[in-house]
Symmetry: C2
Subunit: 408 residues, 2 copies
């Protein structure tokens, strides 16, 4: 973990254990470092799984295999390797993943396809099979660990451990969700860019879990961006052990389905925000609210154009209410816009309405808002009813420091 904790960090929450989920960590020493870097999660028999993955055309082996594996809907274990993304490593990378799946499957006496593997870190270096083998042998024998230990172990350039929790009443049963996530760079949609794992004791059919996770993804992980770059390894998996004993959820017709969906959405949103809060070099958390667009999709595209603009992000880093750069980012989005209907504000104060600076614009409240660490940017296109919210962070010297010297 980077010693420089993000100023936007949140304390790790008090998260309940999930029945049927056991966390363990070990040191595989995938890099020359003295920290746990291998996470192993054992899941009870009967666990449902769903997943969403990067849309990169060059994904990692783990992503390719994970996409296949979630179709069967059943999981018994999760392995997360930190320090090596095992992406762009050809057949040698695939062999390493298959070895891990086989080794864990032998230990649990399960189908290897129920063993999910993620890897995160440097691209292009095959995951060392000897280290993986020794690491798995060690981790399955390790004592159970806490959520925070696991959150720290899946982390790479993260500066703080990230967890989120929620609960819901499904009929008479209370179900719990506990989740961890890592990610601080290469964060951009399609989808979120990170490794996220959500565990619940709810009983839910894998198809319905997939439906809910995919829907939440669209409004959470797909709405965050740190640097517009999309990882080859982005993965969010949801595991449901069924140990809460509720009547299994299979559709929105079922009692408690809405409540569970809301809790899952809440956890996804929390995780997505935490990733932005650890954006490399971030000093400010930025919420961009787009209204009045031609459609929701158009609003989303415009929001991301603003959120990915280096000029907007550096202006906010400099606490400069440079709404002209927001105009520029709207203009370049390639979506319907009318310069003379466009309104832009910061922190609830309009700076420009309908294409012109406000005659009585008082920059003082805007300047005060921009000095804070939680920034809102409002953009109204004035041409329709489409809307979207996206989240990003500012672009600072810290980003350059971290990324101009990452591999070494």
């Amino acid at each position: 973990m980077d010693p420089t904790r993000s100023p936007l960090a949140r304390p790790f929450p008090d998260m309940p254990a999930i029945e049927g989920v056991t966390l363990r960590i070990a040191r595989a020493r995938y890099k020359d470092w003295d920290r746990a870097d291998l996470t192993y999660v054992e899941l009870a028999e009967g666990t449902s799984v769903a997943g969403v993955f990067t849309r990169s055309a060059c994904p990692s082996t783990e992503v390719e295999m994970g996409r296949e594996q979630v179709r069967a809907g059943a999981a018994r274990a999760l392995v997360v390797n930190a320090g090596n993304a095992n992406a762009f490593t050809g057949h040698r990378g695939r062999e390493a993943v298959e070895q891990i799946m086989a080794q864990v499957a032998a230990h649990l006496d399960c189908d290897p396809r129920q063993v999910f593997v993620s890897s995160t870190g440097v691209i292009g270096v095959p995951l060392p099979k000897d280290k993986a083998r020794a690491g798995i042998s060690a981790v399955v024998a390790a004592p159970p660990c806490s959520w925070e230990d696991a959150a720290n172990t899946i982390a790479t350039t993260d500066t703080f451990a990230k967890g989120a929790t929620a609960s819901a009443m499904v009929g008479a049963k209370r179900v719990e969700l506990s989740a961890i996530v890592k990610g601080s760079g290469m964060i951009a949609p399609d989808m979120a860019t990170m490794l996220g794992y959500i565990f619940t004791d709810a009983a839910i059919a894998p198809e319905f879990l997939q439906q809910l996770l995919s829907a939440s993804n669209v409004q959470t992980f797909s709405c965050i961006t740190v640097d517009s770059d999309t990882s080859t390894s982005d993965t969010v998996l949801a595991f449901a052990t069924g140990k809460a004993g509720n009547t299994p959820l299979t559709s929105f017709e079922d009692v408690g389905a809405d409540a569970f969906a809301a809790a899952l959405h809440d956890v996804c949103r929390q995780l997505a925000h935490l990733v932005v809060r650890d954006g490399e070099g971030a000093r400010k958390f930025i919420e961009i609210r787009v209204t009045g667009a031609a459609s929701d999709d158009s609003a989303h595209t415009i929001g991301l154009s603003i959120a990915n603009s280096p000029l907007v992000k550096t202006a906010i880093a400099g606490e400069d209410a440079n709404w002209g750069r927001v105009v520029m980012a709207v203009g370049k989005a390639g979506e319907p816009a009318d310069r003379d209907r466009l309104s832009i504000g910061f922190g609830g104060t309009w700076a420009a309405r309908e294409g012109q600076p406000l005659a009585d614009y008082d920059e003082a409240p805007v300047a005060a808002h921009l000095k804070g660490s939680e920034i809102t940017v409002d953009v109204d296109l004035g041409i329709g009813s489409g809307k979207a919210v996206v989240w990003t962070c500012d672009l600072t010297h810290g980003y350059i420091d971290i990324n101009a010297d990452y591999r070494s």
Copy 2:
């Protein structure tokens, strides 16, 4: 001009005067600064004009009007205001432009629509009409100035004056092209993002000049990016006075048309490269050569995805041969790609072939190459014959310094 001259700067070339073109500069004091910021170019009667403009959906008034004006094909004057982009300024911005056009037209006794106006600088502040009026009065009476003076006067955050020249034989007549450009940030295609002005004494029909300029734009200005941001004001205008006395060029059937087209293309390429060489904070000029793509358009999109990736640009700033980040940028481009056919190299040395690190990869020549200031990145998709070349610069602390504190 920024006192910190780009390390990638080129000396201002020795550029010939163009008959029928007279340059003058003055101090309109659009900002509180002590420098010339108003450029006035008088053009001989009968001058043809062509132009290419930003694709921003929220362009400046100057761009909207310029698009209209070039359709008539005739020009008598160019006015460039530096320090204020006059973009997103509503009717007040338009009035300022119309005032300038009328004032110059009265001086020259010409149609106001033959007076072209560009403005560059801060967005959202109407161009002050009183300063413009006094400035125009002063500039039309100013003595003629040099190309370098004009290049300095159209500049804003540029760190060096930029000019380019070429010549061609059209039949028995030698025609000259001299050009100036400004731009160092908000540089991204659709189209280039900058103000560029090309002057030639060739006789050429405006329709054919437009055809040639548009074609060159696709392979030059549209292939450069500094920060992925597209200005609201990007403009390149070409003016042809006809004073060389060649038989007017009207199509590629005419003798010398190919030679003139090549010279125009050369000037456009030079100007485009100069803009990248002054990319804000740039320390390295990067040429990205994409081959083996599904199509030329696909190669272009992939090239720009790489060129716009903050992670690739910071890696090169750090002199790190992190080809994994190039894989990432290929993957996120949304174009056809096959991870297992992809090859990536730096400075002519392949680091990875067909989806895997080279077994005998020797990083030494690549490391040496990356220590230089002229970087090449080769990407072969291995799936087709599409190709493209794009140019960008690295992303450094200098970019943050400049852009987190631009308005103040």
